[in-house]
């Protein structure tokens, strides 16, 4: 591993100053960063350990649920307020990684984990995300796990986070702090599609710290749930996943949120397509129309086209309460 300087930050100000150093990286649970540093994919010159910061609270404040950036994936997953107000978030977390990793993994780190694309993780392959301009080994390589939505000619890496998909369905906000001040970004505007610059994955600046995530408390979010389909029964990233929330008046849908994971270069949601469900019953026909709109921009390779069928099945299964289609 490349040498680096280690800074153990005592408070938020310490962190905000330390991360202004070029080449610095925040260390939270370490489950993504340490792995990538061993592989030589991440080579920070300074590692800023933020574990001493008081950012692990999970609380209800007014009409929002607030989760500190350092709250562990395990603690958030089983917290009663999450179960009550945003069950999809707990289910998504419990479906991810393993018990050991969830204990160490934090909310902030989960949102900023890097892609699991094998070529990204192996330095002897070309990869535009790791080394801009070097090419993309996955486009003509082994890509059965890669994205079918939001891809570009530069990169087709899938976004790996389950949590981010659930947060997208419940319209969460990410709170950021830097020496310049604080700001709040809707999770739907947090991730960047690869376009021509796959190395740019989010709108967060190098000098910004995620302090917390905010989830609005709404009737819609309280109905949310998460379904993940994958190649193994457990301890595997999603082949396709879906976070849904549906409010109905009798049989008629009055509000809907459907985000999908394992499919996009970013967690994916289409609000225009969701409108097709409003005022309708959840029938095979209305769900099909929704899926057609959602997946209209998809572009699959011969080896990852199966993901689209899988995702349609997952959406049917969640929206129809398990009924066959």
């Amino acid at each position: 591993m490349e040498p680096f300087e280690f800074v153990r930050a005592a408070g938020i100000q310490d962190v905000l100053v330390a991360i202004r150093r070029p080449g610095s990286r925040i260390l939270a649970g370490g489950t993504s960063l340490v792995d990538l540093m061993k592989l030589g994919v991440e080579t920070p010159s300074t590692v800023v350990d933020i574990n001493a910061l008081p950012l692990s609270m999970i609380s209800v404040e007014g009409d929002a649920l607030t989760i500190g950036a350092l709250a562990s994936n395990s603690d958030v997953a089983v917290h009663p307020a999450i179960e009550q107000h945003a069950p999809a978030v707990g289910q998504a977390l419990l479906s991810g990684a393993s018990g050991q990793i969830r204990n160490a993994a934090t909310v902030g780190g989960n949102l900023l984990q890097r892609t699991r694309c094998t070529y990204f993780r192996a330095r002897d392959w070309p990869c535009n995300k790791r080394e801009p301009g070097s090419g993309c080994a996955a486009i003509d390589g082994i890509n059965m796990g890669h994205a079918v939505l939001g891809t570009s000619r530069s990169c087709i890496a899938v976004h790996p986070s389950d949590l981010a998909v659930a947060l997208l369905a419940v319209d969460a906000y990410v709170h950021l702090a830097s020496v310049a001040g604080e700001r709040r970004i809707a999770i739907g505007e947090f991730y960047c599609q690869p376009g021509d610059i796959p190395s740019r994955e989010t709108v967060i600046g190098p000098d910004e710290l995620i302090t917390k995530v905010e989830i609005p408390i709404t009737n819609l979010n309280a109905t949310s749930s998460y379904l993940k389909l994958r190649g193994r029964a457990s301890y595997e990233f999603a082949s396709a996943s879906v976070a849904t929330a549906i409010l109905r008046d009798g049989d008629i849908v009055i509000d809907a949120a459907v985000a999908v994971g394992g499919l996009g270069t970013v967690p994916w949601r289409n609000r225009t397509a969701e409108k097709l469900l409003i005022g309708k019953q959840l029938t095979q026909e209305s769900i099909l129309a929704f899926c057609d709109a959602l997946f209209a921009p998809a572009s699959a390779t011969p080896s990852n086209a199966y993901k689209l069928a899988l995702a349609r099945g997952a959406i049917h299964r969640t929206l129809r309460g398990g009924a066959e289609w």
């Binding site: 591993m1 040498p3 280690f6 050991q100």
Partner: protein, 156 residues
């Protein structure tokens, strides 16, 4: 670069300057000679390196030791002795829950948390909760039996 860090391992205080690149796994095995904790993949994928950090099962291969200031680490060496085995250790022997034994310390350290997890109340749920511990010898059914016995009786 070295940095000073202080934490405990099985109750003993470690207060030393360590290379900031060292993982907890490497410090345990190479510096402290506590070789019960195994290195399988070194990348968070197998669970062989599982220890408890502040009572929670954690992969020691993905923790920089420098980041453990003030933490309490428990390894397989700290849970029982040959003449006074931890119930899980005794149950693993009774149920033949290993073949080569390479994954076993990790399985046991992981199971320490699972025996106290109210959600892990069926064989199926235990398998799900233990999915972060791979066993290349495929001793899974017996591992689950060992855990189920300790869960239901608190002993063997």
């Amino acid at each position: 670069m070295k940095t000073r860090v202080s934490f405990t391992v099985n109750g003993d205080t470690i207060d030393t300057a360590i290379d900031v690149r060292a993982t907890l796994l490497d410090v345990l095995r190479e510096e402290l000679r506590l070789t019960g904790t195994k290195k399988g993949c070194d990348h968070g994928q197998c669970g062989a390196c599982t220890v408890l950090v502040d009572g929670k099962r954690t992969l020691s291969c993905l923790k920089f030791a420098a980041s453990l200031e003030g933490c309490a680490v428990l390894t397989v060496e700290g849970i029982g002795k040959p003449d006074a085995l931890h119930p899980l250790q005794a149950a693993f022997i009774k149920h033949d829950a290993f073949q080569c034994g390479f994954c076993t310390s990790g399985q046991i350290m992981s199971a320490l948390e699972v025996i106290g997890d109210p959600l892990a109340n069926t064989r199926e749920a235990v398998r799900e909760k233990m999915s972060g511990n791979l066993c290349r010898c495929g001793a899974y059914p017996n591992i689950v039996s060992a855990i189920m016995e300790v869960k239901s009786n608190g002993t063997v």
